[in-house]
């Protein structure tokens, strides 16, 4: 009996010790983790817009984040957006609730600072407070509207889709007319040497400059990339020639990676889906915002 007691006491003490070590570590790392994730996201966003490797970012450039939520009530669903009203700390966000037919249900300001909006928990709480009682809010996605002197120059869309092994997490940049600027793979678990090649520049460059009309119909071909195109994709020829070659192939399909057709197809279809859905939604949102004359920051 005494034996059991000592065992229990010693186990409890060691568990407490372990818990203290882990708890202290969590407290120290969780803030750094959030900060680093934010920094990484910013870096990816600016590099997609062409400001990579320490290029100075003009002051006129501004990012406006739009959060989309799906509200589910007892018998109906609607889409709610959290749209920034201004860029200052005090301006806050606008809660725009749109029904499934694209008509405004309700729009009202939400008191949420920009710093709070970065934290999913406080953001979800604010949404829950803004929505009618009995509605469940579900975060769907986050979009950045990029403006230069108040003019929209690009959209940055986050999204994830099923790859060959697990999910592939990407960020896609499109122009206001929805032609692709490019995309970046944020997270994936494809096989090295095969599916992991989706990270490579020559693969990502295939998507560069695809017009929306071509992207809608995009498909994957199982053929080696033509030599001249490959050179252009690798950036081994002059800038002017790259543009010329890209122009030639811009309506074409995506060449599959060797031994990784499934990954290639997943990326092509995933990017296509993200852009198409966004193109539809942003049109609905813009219509509502102009019709109701709601002031937003972009």
């Amino acid at each position: 009996m005494k034996d059991i007691l000592t065992i229990v006491i010693r186990l409890t003490v060691s568990c407490l010790l372990a818990a203290t070590v882990m708890g202290v570590c969590l407290i120290f790392t969780s803030n750094a983790k959030k900060h680093n994730e934010h920094v990484k996201e910013q870096k990816v966003m600016y590099s997609l817009l062409g400001y990579s490797g320490g290029a100075t970012i003009p002051d006129s450039l501004a990012m406006h984040e739009v959060y989309r939520y799906v509200l589910t009530g007892p018998s109906k669903q609607s889409i709610a957006y959290l749209v920034p009203q201004g860029h200052g700390e005090e301006k806050g966000f606008l809660f725009v609730n749109i029904n499934l037919d694209g008509e405004l249900i309700e729009a009202k300001p939400v008191s949420l600072t920009e710093a709070q909006s970065l934290d999913p928990e406080s953001r979800n709480k604010a949404m829950l407070g803004a929505a009618d009682t009995g509605y469940d809010v579900q975060f769907a996605d986050k979009t950045f509207v990029v403006t230069d002197n108040g003019q929209r120059i690009a959209y940055l869309l986050g999204g994830k889709f099923q790859g060959f092994k697990t999910f592939i997490n990407v960020m896609v940049a499109v122009e206001p007319n929805f032609s692709l600027i490019g995309f970046e793979v944020l997270e994936h678990e494809e096989d090295p040497g095969l599916g992991a090649e989706i990270e490579q520049e020559y693969f990502k460059n295939q998507f560069k400059g695809k017009p929306f009309a071509a992207l809608k119909e995009i498909d994957v071909v199982k053929a080696p990339i033509p030599e001249e195109y490959l050179k252009a994709l690798n950036g081994k020829i002059s800038e002017k020639d790259v543009l010329k070659v890209r122009e030639q192939y811009k309506d074409g399909d995506i060449y599959a990676l060797t031994g990784a057709t499934i990954s290639t197809r997943a990326v092509a279809n995933g990017v296509k889906g993200i852009v198409r859905k966004f193109a539809y939604r942003v049109e609905v949102l813009d219509k509502v915002l102009t019709e109701q004359q709601l002031a937003v920051s972009f």
Partner: protein, 205 residues
């Protein structure tokens, strides 16, 4: 066990005569799984080194307070705690490298080599000896990972540490997942060959 083991001897034992990967053939999973680049090897090596050293020291400090009947659960708890710590730290400060290593950082908890060192060494010896032994074993693992990673990265993608050295890709095969088995197998055979050759030359003399 004599008490006159110097720190250098303990370290070199871990790296050479009792190398966890090539000699003891323990902790093979990451050696095959993510040894595609030198960098992966270094990073996972650091993680294992950290867990091994801290667990060895912890167990060695508390060795007189551990009840013999709950020895193994205590070891597991200690290792799991330090793995959680390194997991959190890597996720926070090196998110990109962490993403590359995937599940393997968390799996350090199931590495036989760490438990084995705790059971065979740390629970009997002094704190400083345990520290040097842990350091040696961790370094041995790291060296093994780096050597495998070196060959796979050089032959598979023509690069070392992400720098293009060869300018072409000799054999894509080496970077493919299944090549890990071949590389490790061939290297083990190579070490065997050296040993046999060495013994023979001695024997002939």
């Amino acid at each position: 066990m004599a008490n006159d083991k110097s720190s250098m001897q303990l370290i070199s034992r871990g790296i050479l005569s009792e190398n966890p990967i090539f000699k003891l053939a323990l902790s093979m999973c990451p050696a095959v799984g993510i040894s595609t680049t030198v960098m992966n090897g270094v990073l996972l090596g650091i993680a294992v080194l950290f867990v091994q050293v801290f667990s060895s020291v912890t167990i060695s400090i508390f060795k007189n307070m551990i009840h013999p009947r709950i020895r193994i659960p205590t070891y597991t708890l200690t290792i799991a705690t330090w793995v959680t710590v390194i997991d959190l730290v890597l996720a926070a400060y090196m998110p990109e490298a962490y993403a590359k290593m995937g599940i393997f950082v968390k799996l350090i908890v199931a590495f036989a080599i760490i438990t084995m060192r705790l059971e065979m060494f740390a629970c009997k010896e002094s704190v400083s000896d345990s520290f040097w032994d842990g350091l040696g074993m961790g370094l041995g693992f790291m060296v093994g990972m780096v050597v495998i990673g070196f060959f796979r990265e050089l032959l598979g993608s023509g690069m070392i540490l992400g720098h293009d050295v060869l300018g072409f890709k000799p054999l894509l095969f080496f970077i493919l997942p299944s090549a890990g088995f071949f590389v490790v197998g061939l290297m083990m055979a190579f070490f065997n060959w050296i040993e046999i050759y060495y013994k023979r030359s001695k024997g002939l003399k």
